[in-house]
Symmetry: C2
Subunit: 407 residues, 2 copies
């Protein structure tokens, strides 16, 4: 047999959400009458905005007509979409990011997972703890880490503890790292990084020649005015940061698949001999060789949110979920639990009662209340003792879940 990539075997058991799915399926099989409420996986439940549906129907019709048919699109994404993103998400907020610094993809998970491929296998990485598992797992699979220790940490990775004590805003480490994964609004804690916190990170990156990989997939959920939606709102970020954005949570595209990466035009890495290489060019090479663009229909659907009508529909969607977030925050607060997040993010980060483990609390919620959360430990060692709930359920389910808990 051919030899496999043994780095895969370093990963513990299943991908987090696959493990949750299995436990829930088992419970449902054993209790077919239980009405399970899923507040676990970060999946949306509201229909797509009408502007998106209409645009996709029109695009499908175009593809059925020889005059308007389109085959392969540009691997970087259609200019019509990149221009709209540049205008609506950046220029209108005073940030100069041009369309040729934007790369359309089939979602942020792919981008966050693939970006490491353009960096040296020797790169040292730092990740917030807890955080979205994809950053770490893809680096483990690529071979940038050692083995997993019984303490839940991989050798060779710098973990940045995010705790209630530091307001879930980690300080740069003492040691030098090459790649820093930050996520704000954070998945899973639902907390955000301030401009000052980001400025510290940018200073660290400049001093240590690091690149910041900034996941802003939840930017559309920020309600407070002084919180940066983009890392490029902070001075100096264009010299050190790549930003990830997504339509998944902004416009309900979790099953429709569209996201994008911003790589500023002067951002570079180096060869071992010190030659500067533009990261934008490496990424374009990666995408032209391993990707073939996002479906035309999907790109037209995404474009549709960039109109006054589209923005109103998106706002409506987000308001719906953020009302759920408020219901969960307040509901959990009333029964005396400690909760974080849920103000600028669709995630509520909940301290488990009596310090029980997060998987035990997961099982208890499932078995007693038929509610599915996500165990904090699945997001990193510092997630132990926490559980993530999401605001993406229906209003009815969200209210019902809080009623069940209140009893």
């Amino acid at each position: 047999m051919a030899k496999i990539n043994e780095n895969y075997l370093k990963l513990p058991g299943n991908y987090l959400f696959a493990e949750i799915g299995k436990r829930v399926a088992k419970f449902q099989t054993e209790h077919p009458d239980a009405k399970i409420i899923r507040l676990g996986i970060g999946d949306v439940t509201r229909p797509l905005p009408k502007v998106c549906v209409d645009a996709m129907i029109k695009a499908a019709q175009e593809l059925g007509n020889v005059e308007t048919f389109r085959g392969y699109g540009p691997e970087q994404g259609y200019e019509f979409l990149r221009e709209k993103i540049s205008d609506w998400n950046y220029r209108r907020r005073g940030i100069e990011i041009s369309a040729d610094e934007i790369f359309i993809s089939d979602g942020s998970k792919c981008d966050c997972g693939n970006i490491q491929e353009i960096f040296s296998l020797d790169s040292k990485i730092a990740i917030a703890d807890p955080v979205y598992p994809v950053y770490l797992d893809t680096n483990v699979m690529a071979g940038r880490t050692g083995d997993l220790h019984p303490n839940g940490k991989f050798d060779g990775v710098t973990y940045l503890p995010c705790t209630a004590e530091n307001n879930f805003s980690p300080a740069p480490p003492e040691n030098k790292v090459d790649l820093i994964y930050l996520c704000s609004p954070n998945n899973p804690t639902g907390t955000t990084l301030t401009k000052n916190a980001l400025k510290n990170w940018i200073d660290y990156a400049k001093k240590n020649n690091s690149v910041i990989l900034f996941d802003a997939a939840y930017a559309a959920y920020i309600t407070e005015e002084n919180i940066p939606r983009s890392i490029y709102e902070v001075e100096g970020a264009k010299d050190v940061a790549i930003e990830f954005r997504s339509f998944s949570k902004t416009a309900g595209f979790t099953g429709t698949r569209c996201g994008y990466v911003v790589i500023p035009k002067n951002l570079s890495g180096t060869t071992s001999s010190g030659e500067k290489i533009l990261l934008k060019n490496l990424w374009l090479r990666r995408q032209t060789t391993k990707f073939n663009g996002t479906a035309y229909i999907v790109q037209r659907g995404a474009e549709a949110i960039y109109s006054d009508e589209g923005q109103a529909q998106v706002k409506n969607l987000i308001d719906y979920y953020m009302t759920n977030a408020k219901i969960i925050r307040e509901g959990l607060g009333h029964i005396g639990l400690s909760v974080y997040g849920g103000v600028n993010a669709p995630y509520i980060w909940l301290k488990t009662p009596k310090n029980i483990s997060s998987w035990d609390f997961f099982d208890e919620l499932l078995k007693k209340f038929h509610i599915v959360g996500t165990p904090g430990a699945g997001f990193g060692p510092c997630g132990e003792g926490f559980l993530r709930l999401t605001a993406f359920g229906s209003r009815e389910n969200t209210l019902q879940a809080m009623e069940r808990l209140a009893e």
Copy 2:
């Protein structure tokens, strides 16, 4: 600056089709009145089958309705599509491939490019020469090769010459390799591998513990009954082969994006200590971590071809292109050029006249006849002295191109 993946710098200049695009754009700018006919890139031009358009419109409408909305789908793809593929493409041809051995993706380019990630970085690869550049380029980027030599070959790669002398059907090499990329019907030569040829490869793979990566993206174009559409038609293939298929050329999905990989359930690789690991499980882990499924709308569109009406529409599409292939074959034959392929594939492989180089012939065709082909050298050293034409143009353009050449 962070250190980059220097393997990228081993790749020559641009990705093949990007280079062609640049030359064509330059010529068009300098000659704005020239009516350029593109028979170069393998992109389709006919509209999507009506069944696909209708299915995608229906799916878009479903996503706009809270009752029928769908978020994240399974990373492996929806069962409705995997079951149909299993039934129509395999069982009905007497091949037992079940839905859980099928993994839906956003296209074969991604699958062919990503599959190497589950194998050891030490794996030795063999590729047909000439062949679709993605197999080699993705292995170069991953670091499985040495440097590029002036002879056009990368150190550490086993090239399998496909020439007129061996009927473009390469024999297994003397040396041992771990991963073997085969493509039949072949891109770019348009030729196919017989059952006997595949049997030889399967025997080689069993003897040498190799895995065959079999790209059958053009299987739908096979017209001769005795040519295998799938490597699994050949005995023993399930023990050694992974197969790639695509909707791109079958149903015009180049801009709609859908393909799939078949990994037989007992196919395994080994760790360095000799433990067997199922490749299917590694691939699922790769997909659940770095991919989030193909758009629901697109999967519904793909599913639609698996009905009597859908098959009739697909056949109609393929007949159209294969009539073009015949026109090109015969047209080039009449003017005395040596041509291969075009019977079981939408590609015609053309010997350049007077042994001029393939890029020179490309430039000549572009400048004198305003016809875009693809230089054979772009597909490997043995492609030098050849040019690829495709049958994917409109009938009118195909006829016109042949008229221009006949003059």
